[in-house]
Symmetry: C2
Subunit: 596 residues, 2 copies
């Protein structure tokens, strides 16, 4: 199945919901002119559809494979990655100083979506490389920046994140990898890292591993973790490649999905010691890692939206083509199944969730840009708080819904969906990793509950709810029946959400287990309420455009119907979430361990 970038919706979200022109007006974002952005979108869409998307099925059928310590990626990946780098796509959001395009995160975001829709497995390599670039930009020395950044941004080299160890999955306090200073400014690194995405491959000349490890005198727990650069090949002073470093891929995993993306077990220092250099200061590794993780978490949220969009497109195509049963309203023979109400319901469920999640993510990206570039300190701070609140929501909610959307995509295909050759099943398999890696949904929810809600007593959440209420007021002035229903559902949902925020902020100290029992429901509810808010905003804008006779009337009418669907099917769930979160912890926690 081919992929066609949903440029129409992307433009709508960028311009109307996320405020691309306001972002373009920020100091340092002057390059993101309407013409430039349009060119980026169109070229990226073309590249992703024509070069990357056709490799998606191949990656599933002929996964990357390991032999004698080397990984050979799926045929075509290597050339495609070279083309990707040469076209400048790795550098969209990175500094011009090191060869990037220096565009805002808001502009990079649809590019990330398109690349991931085209090919989730392929896109992981640039995704991890973005994270490495981010970490080096934040905490790297000038020498480190000069040595690595230009090659990472050009796609000549790639980056990895090495956190997980066999005994330390989500719990980084348990990291054991050791880093022993050699007195010459370098460290010898030894240990085992697992689940390292693109930890070994043949698509680039060098792989820049960013590795969490402990120095000999480091304190225990997460406060004793430092971050190191351990390149696959050491880099000479002149920038040329030197000796092979002692980091070796001992195996890759046999996975449910994203099979073209090699998931490596890396062994550091088994043959004399892997040489690494410290990034930033000792024992601040977790802090730096969180910077790259926030970027990576947002990007994984985009992966959820991306695979959901791809599954949706495939389901629509099948539903248009497959003839089966008569129309309920009567027809002379079988009709395309897209005419059957339940198929329509499934497609609307997929579509509305994708559009809501996209809108929320792009608005979040715009907040990042304002947080980094706005001239007014108070505006920067408010946007930073908004962005930080949203990262776990975008990551957790978009990835959880991607499983539902991909599963519905299989269902639309009926029996054919279960046959691997159809391709719908691949999305169902691929999507399953998304709520797990870069922090499971529970980890995102812990972040949302602890750092992002309870710490400020719910102030950020309440400030966002204030914005939601303003949208409700705008909806109240509409005479449209659809918008009236949307307003009713949004008002009920935001009321329920306010209650939940009060509960979370108010009970952390007295009933921490009870609050955390509802943490994932709270995260999902935040996604639904705030995604529904964006859909309500979209419906308002669509109504205004229709009234003014501007633009594509079919598009705007469809947007209103999609927002209406989201309100009736998704926003309506808010009360159930409140019940589960505020009153449901008793049932969650009552059963003794031995009774399971």
């Amino acid at each position: 199945m081919s992929y066609v970038a949903p440029l129409k919706d992307m433009r709508f979200v960028l311009n109307e919901l996320a405020g691309l022109s306001e972002v373009n007006a920020l100091p340092g974002c002057e390059d993101a002119s309407p013409e430039t952005v349009e060119a980026v979108l169109e070229e990226n869409a073309k590249f992703c559809s024509e070069v990357i998307a056709p490799l998606n099925v191949a990656g599933d059928k002929e996964p990357s494979f390991w032999k004698d310590g080397t990984v050979t990626t799926t045929k075509g990946f290597r050339d495609a990655f070279r083309a990707f780098g040469e076209a400048g796509w790795q550098g969209v959001q990175h500094p011009v100083e090191f060869g990037g395009q220096g565009l805002p995160k808001l502009v990079a975001t649809p590019c990330i979506e398109m690349l991931n829709s085209a090919n989730l497995s392929f896109a992981l390599c640039p995704l991890l490389t973005d994270g490495a670039i981010e970490a080096l930009m934040t905490a790297g020395s000038d020498e480190q920046k000069n040595t690595y950044l230009a090659n990472l941004i050009s796609g000549k080299w790639t980056g990895t994140m090495n956190l997980t160890e066999p005994q330390a999955g989500s719990d980084l306090a348990l990291v054991r990898t050791r880093a022993v200073p050699q007195g010459d400014g370098t460290y010898k690194i030894s240990g085992t890292k697992i689940f390292i995405t693109y930890g070994e491959h043949d698509m680039a000349e060098n792989i820049v591993h960013l590795v969490l490890a402990r120095t000999p005198d480091a304190p225990e727990g997460v406060k004793g973790i430092s971050l190191f650069i351990v390149p696959k090949f050491l880099v000479n002073a002149d920038g040329s490649l030197g000796a092979r470093n002692d980091v070796h891929c001992v195996s890759i995993e046999h996975k449910l999905g994203i099979k073209a993306s090699p998931t490596a077990v890396l062994q550091f220092g088994d043959h004399g010691g892997a040489i690494g250099t410290l990034v930033g200061e000792e024992n601040r590794g977790l802090e730096y890692m969180f910077i790259m993780m926030n970027a990576a978490r947002f990007a994984v949220g985009m992966q959820g939206i991306a695979v959901a969009e791809r599954a949706y497109q495939q389901a629509v195509q099948y539903a248009r083509d497959r003839l089966q049963s008569r129309d309920l309203a009567g027809s002379s023979g079988p009709v395309a199944i897209i005419h059957h109400p339940d198929v329509r319901r499934m497609l609307m469920s997929m579509r509305s969730q994708v559009e809501a999640a996209r809108a929320l993510a792009y608005v979040t990206a715009a907040a990042y840009d304002a947080a980094h570039h706005h001239a007014d300190d108070a505006v920067r701070k408010a946007n930073q708080a908004f962005y930080e609140y949203m990262v776990p929501v975008v990551k957790g909610w978009s990835t959880e819904l991607s499983i539902d959307v991909a599963s519905t995509g299989v269902q639309v295909h009926g029996g054919m969906g279960f046959i691997e050759e159809t391709g719908a099943a691949q999305h169902y398999r691929d999507a399953r990793i998304l709520p797990i890696y870069e922090g499971t949904t529970a980890i995102q929810a812990n972040d949302l509950v602890g750092r992002k809600t309870a710490r400020d007593g719910g102030a950020t959440a309440k400030a966002i709810l204030g914005q939601v209420r303003r949208t409700e007021e705008e909806l109240a002035s509409s005479s449209s029946a659809d918008l009236a229903v949307i307003r009713k559902r949004l008002a009920a949902a935001s009321k329920a959400f306010g209650d939940v925020v009060d509960y979370v902020a108010g009970n952390m100290k007295t009933d921490i287990k009870g609050v955390f029992a509802g943490s994932v429901p709270y995260l999902k509810m935040a996604g639904i309420v705030l995604g529904g808010w964006q859909m309500a905003r979209a419906a308002l804008i669509a109504e205004r455009k229709l009234a003014a006779g501007e633009g594509d009337a079919d598009f705007y009418r469809t947007k209103i119907a999609t927002a209406r669907f989201f309100a009736d099917y998704m926003l309506s769930q808010a009360d159930a979430y409140r019940a589960a979160i505020v009153e449901g912890s008793a049932g969650v926690l009552a059963v003794p361990v031995e009774q399971f």
Copy 2:
């Protein structure tokens, strides 16, 4: 991962919720004494855990394969199937007259669950054979019964259902396979059937295909379909095997899951004609097929419960074993993740859905027995109506939730869940077919809306709601805080469900597309409300047992907590379903086809 049959919960549901003693008291069910049932449960549990369950992973890793028209099943399946037949497990619910055990459906139901938990792929062969037995019992001639039944019931031969053709998936009006009478009482069958489960294999001496086809003068559409027996090997007058019939397996499918179960493309009559005999009367094939389909649909619902139970057991085991992060209430080091509230929430979500679906299914099986055996005609009729209403609910709801449960099972495992060797992913893949085959969830929902609700003006649904209200009244007399919450949620949910039934029954004639737009939500809501009703009944019984100091207090306390969880997390969703069904069709149907 090993499988341990949940006999404690099965016994509770059989005895306390489904009324095994009442079933045992029915004429013709005298053999289902407590001692016999206990022996059946224990022996079946042992057989399933020890003989069948160990083959589950092998079936996934080394699927059945096709070569030159023959299918070789996974190593071990053939011997296991022989043992299954010899132990009499194919015959649990079939007539003593033909070698069966003649036990009620209520007793066969836990056996079906256990076999499917042990190995979904393996269990499909007996499942389809049950369907063939059912069809022959209903509509077969004495000669056909004498020729086929004993060998099917002993497991010497197996059965299949041949409905689907490439152009006719869910829409049997499009069936094209032809049956031409030969004047000697036989017919020559020709055509292609796809998605035929165990359509070819090496586990039995003969395969008895039940095939839908059209005679030359048959009317168009579903009223011109007849049912034929087309055995793989013709059967001589003395019962011995005769010539190879002209039905050949030209390929099997490459599937997402249940890989050990061969899904065949069967070609009938390409080499001179396949010889078949008519079952019952011409043009009544669909009616007979529906009899076996109702049995098969119920059994597929059991598959959903079964795979969900297996996924739950695997997740519990991992959650007990995996150490990670400190306890939120403080601990000296990492604790087993089962102590973390969100893991607990996931396990309770899995557990409560499995228990609710099991209770509803077993109660439905008991209604089948009463419908067939009760001395009072009015009681038979009421139970038949209950059973027929429940079949699409058990099939649709239990299979839809099995995907959610299996997916949550993967999530509990974190990154390890995505690695195939862990085994959690197999359940996620296997479960995905369940809401598709034997009629997709939409087909079940059409049945529920049309035949089971609108046709009698909602009378059956309302009668069931009357029973729910009586449970609410019983709950009102309890002083337990948990039961008070359960009552509140059940009352709100049953109120919402009543509104939905009124909407469905009241709007079929004026707004058929609007009603069908909400058909699947109506089915899921029925599952939640009626499953929640069973959990409420269970909580009441548990409370009484605790008050009386009878039995296993931990079990009963856990049952109440599980019912409480189900109420807060599942029953609480009823209002959202009402909104979607009663008010949501506008959003489902508004978007023109070309805008997707």
